[in-house]
């Protein structure tokens, strides 16, 4: 766990907001979207079909 950042070296609220927004956009587009697609494809036809596929 990282240490708490002292206020004297913490970035301004605007910079923090912008950087977090960029980070979340990148994560959303590159990592969450593919995972969401995999999950919707796997579970899209109902959970029972998903279980049947696993049982084979």
């Amino acid at each position: 766990m990282s240490k708490a950042v002292p206020a004297s070296v913490q970035d301004s609220l605007l910079v923090r907001g912008v950087l977090i927004a960029i980070a979340l956009c990148f994560l959303g587009l590159m990592l969450i979207l593919p995972m969401a697609l995999v999950l919707t494809q796997a579970l899209g036809h109902g959970f029972t079909l998903y279980l049947d596929a696993l049982r084979d």
């Binding site: 990282s2 240490k3 950042v5 002292p6 004297s8 070296v9 913490q10 970035d11 301004s12 910079v15 923090r16 950087l19 977090i20 960029i22 980070a23 979340l24 990148f26 994560l27 587009l29 590159m30 990592l31 969450i32 979207l33 593919p34 995972m35 697609l37 995999v38 494809q41």
Partner: protein
């Protein structure tokens, strides 16, 4: 202290020099068992890395030098090298920028969902590459979630080199984040605070204090992401379109040759790729050594 005490007698000086000289060649280590551990390291490295690599070289040499050159200099192969290395380079550069940003945000800022984002970074390691490739193809295809909006603007993402780059960004991002993150975490705030007291603004203290300390880790992350991108096969083939001369990567050509039982040709391409990758990684290593030396001199 008097000046005469500072001067070492000639004999002592000679003796010290001999010890230094011997130490340089014998490398007497403080740790015991150096011979055994070195032996094991070399044995293990040979078993896992060197023997398969030398087998590749031997197989490539089987076909003769004329066939070797013919195999690695065919226009289709040259185009595949270009696609592979350019896409891997672009992806690694993008990953370097966003990887440092992600590491910075995850270490320095507190926001809801931070732990979840941190855990998500490792997803490309865990997801089978083929699944990633199919998912990316489905998202960026002209009828996919993102692809349909892109095709409205006349932009094609999947099945062109841009698709390859996106797959390599997906595959490479953990390498940069996970090499930069621990360095950022262990960094002392004192230097930045000192920079602030000297009148530096946040951007200056990031650029002049934090970034120089990160350079080694960033270079390592870049090299890892780049190397992974060059060899990546599973996720790329689904989203690349695999058009010869346009979006065909070199690893796919190797598979194609293997399927035609052209083992010498396949290994010839592999050897050429190894050579180029080795030259590039060597350059990065030299750059790292140079950075380290510049850092220790400051």
């Amino acid at each position: 202290m008097r000046a005469s005490q500072l001067e070492t007698p000639a004999l002592t000086r000679h003796y010290f020099r001999r010890i230094a000289w011997r130490g340089h060649f014998r490398r007497e280590s403080v740790l015991s068992g150096f011979g055994l551990t070195l032996g094991f390291t070399v044995f293990y490295l040979s078993l896992i890395v060197l023997i398969p690599l030398s087998a590749t070289f031997l197989k490539a040499a089987e076909g003769g030098s004329a066939n070797f050159w013919a195999a690695i200099s065919a226009p289709r192969v040259i185009a595949a090298y270009r696609v592979t290395f350019v896409c891997a380079l672009v992806a690694a550069l993008i990953n370097t920028v966003f990887g440092v940003l992600l590491a910075w945000v995850l270490v320095r800022y507190r926001f809801p969902g931070r732990r979840l984002c941190d855990a998500l970074i490792d997803l490309p390691f865990a997801l089978p590459t083929a699944v990633a490739g199919i998912a990316l193809a489905a998202i960026y295809a002209p009828k996919g979630w993102v692809g349909q909006y892109a095709s409205d603007w006349g932009i094609k993402i999947a099945f062109v080199p841009m698709g390859i780059t996106i797959a390599l960004i997906f595959i490479g991002i953990p390498f940069v984040v996970r090499t930069v993150q621990p360095v950022l975490e262990s960094m002392d705030f004192a230097c930045e605070e000192a920079a602030t007291t000297l009148g530096a603004n946040r951007w200056q203290s990031f650029r002049l204090v934090v970034l120089p300390a990160l350079v080694l880790a960033v270079l390592t992350g870049f090299a890892l992401a780049f190397a992974r991108g060059i060899g990546e096969y599973g996720s790329v083939i689904f989203v690349a379109g695999n058009m010869p001369m346009v979006s065909e990567i070199a690893p796919l050509l190797i598979i194609t040759k293997l399927e035609q039982y052209d083992y010498a040709g396949a290994t010839a391409i592999a050897v050429a790729m190894l050579g180029i990758s080795f030259a590039m990684l060597l350059t990065i290593n030299l750059l790292q050594a140079w950075t380290r030396r510049a850092e220790s001199q400051r």
